[in-house]
Amino acid sequence: MLRIWLTLMTSFAVSLSANAAEVTTSEESVNNAAVTQSADSEEVANEKSFVKNLADTFINDIFESKKSEQEKVDVFKDIFLKNCDINFISKFVLGKAWKTASAEEKDSFTTAFSDAVVLTWAGRFKEYNGQKIEVLTIRPANSGQSYVDSSVINPDNPNDKPISLIWRIENKDGQYKIVDLIVEGVSMAMTYRNEYLAVLQAKGGKITALTENLQEKNKKLASDLKVVLE
């Protein structure tokens, strides 16, 4: 009796997986056809390689490197400032408060914000576990920007659904820069905006108060990591 039931279940499961296999192979042949029909335009190819190179740099030069924590943070900060449009993001994150801010307030905030992002990332370096990033497709975004879809695969659990990581990039005078990272639907820029808006509300809208809070927090994060940010 048990044997009959087991055989039934196994054959049912096997037919299910056969269906799954069928579906994926027919999907694959359609995708292959699409790829051979239209090779990537130059723009698309450039955007893909920008993200691919950046991801490789992060993994090889930082996450997996044997450098000291301080060196890793320094390298990361360099790459971050060069490849991320932090001024653009700062403006978005502060929202309406940006309009009434003085140039000095904007500057101090942008520096403190940038340091906060670097230090938060530095705290994540040790989480890297050999994940691989695969660049997939490009889609248009608002304001002439682009979404670069990628997926993050964990080599320990290759059967788990890959994590979706979208890079939102802009083309600024011929140079690509990141303006947002979206992980499983969560936009980093929007999250920071919501967070800082709440802090501003609690501080009566004073940007200097927000900046000071950030600077304090940064000091603590840096000392926890035993690094120094110039």
């Binding site: 196994t10 639907g185 967070e195 927090k217």
Partner: protein
């Protein structure tokens, strides 16, 4: 006599969940369906003070009890054993996935969940080994909150559940329903069988520790933020919308960076 006790006990359990559901429905009623916060439509300002209190309580409990236990579990238990535990717990929850996918009209996903359950329970040592993964059957989860969203309850206010953490009013209700939907839970609610009740408590404990441990990288990250409450809230709401495919035409991340120029 025994049967009467059993029925009474189940009635009691249902009564408690009923009270819980009523409280939440009352919370629903007091929150209007008008989108209230301009910045974020999923937040009800009337509910926020309550949320802050519950969050502080959860944070304290977490610091003192949950996180240390989860951290110890994560450090001491080898990764592959953690995977086995995850597989086993996932398998126990699969009837809930099957039922909810069916309620949502997702026939294929319900079938896949059933196939996983059948294969893993029989050949996978009651779910410990994930044979279905090797057979290529996709692993997807769902819950009654997602079912309600599919049925039209698309907008729901952020609500922090005591002990359990960030959620929405709809999803908190959903969790209550999911408890009743799982036949394994109904079976272990049997008051006459001590070993079944113990098994139920053990499962509850292991589930709590395992999910807390899985969430460690994320929660440690949130703890580094300037305002952890708002960070957690923002991340949870964006991710939940994404998970439920609620923004079909535009994603919540499709915002215009110049939105304040309007």
């Amino acid at each position: 006599m025994k049967n009467k006790n059993k029925v009474e006990k189940i009635r009691e359990n249902l009564r408690y969940s009923g009270v819980f559901l009523c409280l939440l429905t009352a919370a629903c009623a007091s929150t209007s369906s008008d989108k209230t916060s301009v910045e974020n439509p999923d937040i009800n300002p009337n509910l926020e003070p309550v949320n802050h209190v519950i969050y502080s309580f959860n944070d304290a409990l977490d610091t003192v009890l949950l996180r240390p236990i989860a951290k110890a579990y994560d450090t001491v238990v080898p990764d592959f054993v953690q995977s086995l535990v995850k597989n086993f717990l996932h398998n126990l929850q699969t009837p809930v996935y099957i039922i909810n996918y069916t309620l949502q009209g997702e026939g294929e996903k319900a079938q896949a969940a059933f196939g996983r359950f059948a294969l893993n329970t029989s050949l996978g040592f009651f779910g410990i080994a994930d044979m279905a993964a090797d057979a290529g059957i996709p692993k997807e989860t769902t819950d009654f909150g997602a079912t309600m969203a599919k049925w039209g309850y698309t907008d729901s206010a952020y609500f922090v559940i005591p002990v359990m953490g960030p959620s929405t009013v709809r999803d908190a209700l959903g969790k209550g329903v999911d408890v009743i939907l799982n036949p394994f839970n109904i079976a272990t609610m049997n008051p006459n069988n001590d070993s079944l009740r113990t098994a139920d408590w053990i499962r509850f404990g292991v589930n709590a520790v395992q999910s807390r441990a899985s969430a460690l990288p994320l929660t440690d990250d949130i703890a580094r933020a300037l305002d952890p409450y708002t960070t957690m809230q923002s991340m949870y709401l964006q991710n939940r919308r994404h998970e439920l495919h609620l923004d079909k035409d535009t994603n919540s991340y499709d915002f215009d960076f110049d939105m304040d120029e309007e």
